[in-house]
Symmetry: C2
Subunit: 334 residues, 2 copies
């Protein structure tokens, strides 16, 4: 098997230059990089990252722990993390948080502590105290993304404020009968962020003296979930709310589709507001609270890099930007 | 720093048992696993996977190369790959295929060949001949998922047949004016799979003597893409088709939403059929060709495992299942 010295010799460069050219780490001119790449190809050379890792004590790998990527938020966030890690030449080791307590225990008790990363990014996983302890025990920097962040650096939007602002927008337009779609009256069923959004909705109603009007239609935070819950809510025209706050844009879009199916005009007969600025929000002219999970991914990598460079750096909590985006799904009540 | 011997001694088991318990590889009773985990925690023991990897020549890591996970198909497929790799105790190193030729070249020329994996799964990336050569040079098993698969084991549905069957379903119902939404007349803009679906549509029309009726509305394979293209197609009532084939369910759902906005009833005035059986297909009662990207992810790992166990095993091409799912978005023309 050829060595880096063979490649360097064939390309007519130093071992250090050959190493930089092949790893992509550090500056090498395009022409030299090509010459080294050609030599490596001719010799079928493959660098051994395990050996590099033992020699340097660094793996240049970041572990990312997150739920299945089947929601827009997680997919966008992962894309942001990927972009930043790629630019910094870090590898990304992806761990899904499995459903079921047995496999989840295996992940936190034996898999993650046994792998070597330079750092970990944990996304929306609400680790238990025990799990967090286990993650921290390995002594690697940890950054959380999402609303749950005790004991680590973290980046998230203020979910309570987001839903409060969305609800206040409707109150300012003159609505008093405002329902929340996508929440659950059973706190155990709600994710931490969704629970905070429900709190924000309740807080806005309370501040406006409208607590008695609070109506929560439990539903999954998805388009079909919002569709089903809203269809139930809008079916009885005598009890129909004049406005809906979706726990997220997917649920809000489901509500708009349900309204159209029932012949209820948005926004003249029903105002709908969401949270997220999902990629489909524009198509449905949805008024929403915009956030950028992709930027949050970049930010998480920035925080992690700080911690990896200086393990004694203080923990930092970054409130990511979110702001009202007014489109045409909201209007004063008739 | 504590060693595995320290952990074994504290837990009162052999080093081999302690190693099995901590790696999760091989059988250990729950009670013993717990005792070893406790000992490891008390000693703040962390296994060094790089050392293990140098000793065994195996990394127990699979590289997965795929586009951004912001489409349902890729997210589901990744979930399937994750499930199977987790069950087999393999790590997953994720590489996004970046846009832009420079970064893409860096990925294939220096990053991937320099990393150590036991195998690679390449999803929907249509590698160039040069890229494929570079992937294969490292001598690691390679499995492709998606329609492009020369030179490697592969799993995919027959995209041509899927769109042909969808189109034939409309022809059998009596439609003759059938448009295709989500394709492009510019072949360079189409992904390999989408081009095959367009071929399938054209083939079905040709076989039925309807080639002169072919109409292709170029659009991104997304809900907003399908919405915009269908709105254009349906706007002129004198040239309106009686049926639409979406290049994928997202595009087909966009077409249904456009039809509803225009007051066109589905299926009485317009039939719509998609391909995929997306998670939202049921909510829109969409007739479609069902496939399971999650199962394809499982299948890709199975093929890769075969190749990893026996590098001389012959390449295998698996046609994943797909079949017509009839819901109520299709009916005979009026």
């Amino acid at each position: 098997m050829s060595t880096i010295a063979d490649v360097a010799s064939r390309a007519g460069v130093s071992k250090a230059t050959a190493s930089r050219a092949l790893s992509g780490r550090g500056y090498v001119s395009t022409a030299t990089r090509q010459r080294v790449a050609d030599a490596a190809r001719e010799l079928s050379y493959v660098a051994h990252s395990s050996a590099t890792s033992l020699a340097t004590g660094r793996t240049r790998t970041v572990g990312v722990v997150m739920p299945p990527v089947d929601r827009w938020f997680f997919a966008e966030l992962l894309a942001g993390v990927q972009e930043s890690l790629f630019a910094l030449d870090y590898d990304l080791s992806l761990y899904g948080v499995p459903e079921g307590s047995k496999t989840r225990e295996r992940l936190f008790e034996s898999i993650l502590p046994g792998r070597r990363f330079d750092g970990i990014i944990a996304v929306g996983i609400q680790p238990s105290a025990r799990e967090l302890e286990r993650l921290q025990q390995a002594g690697r920097p940890l950054v959380s993304v999402g609303p749950y962040s005790e004991g680590s650096s973290a980046v998230s939007i203020d979910d309570t404020a987001a839903a409060r602002i969305a609800t206040e927008h409707l109150i300012e337009l003159g609505h008093t009968d405002i329902a929340f779609v996508g929440g659950s009256t059973d706190a155990a069923e709600l994710s931490f962020g969704d629970a905070q959004r429900l709190d924000g909705y309740r807080g806005a109603l309370r501040a406006a003296g409208l607590s008695a009007h609070a109506r929560i239609a439990g539903a999954a935070p998805t388009m079909p979930g919002g569709y089903t819950a809203a269809a139930g809510l809008l079916g009885d025209r005598r009890r129909r709310p004049t406005a809906i706050v979706g726990v997220c844009d997917e649920a809000a879009i489901g509500a708009i589709i349900a309204a159209r199916r029932l012949g209820i005009a948005v926004p003249t007969e029903l105002s709908v507001v969401g949270v997220d600025d999902h990629e489909h929000a524009d198509m449905f002219a949805l008024t929403t609270i915009g956030q950028s999970p992709r930027d949050q991914g970049h930010e998480a990598v920035r925080l992690l890099t700080q911690q990896m460079e200086d393990p004694d750096a203080p923990l930092e909590r970054v409130d990511a930007a979110s702001a009202l985006v007014v489109r045409s799904s909201t209007a004063p009540p008739r």
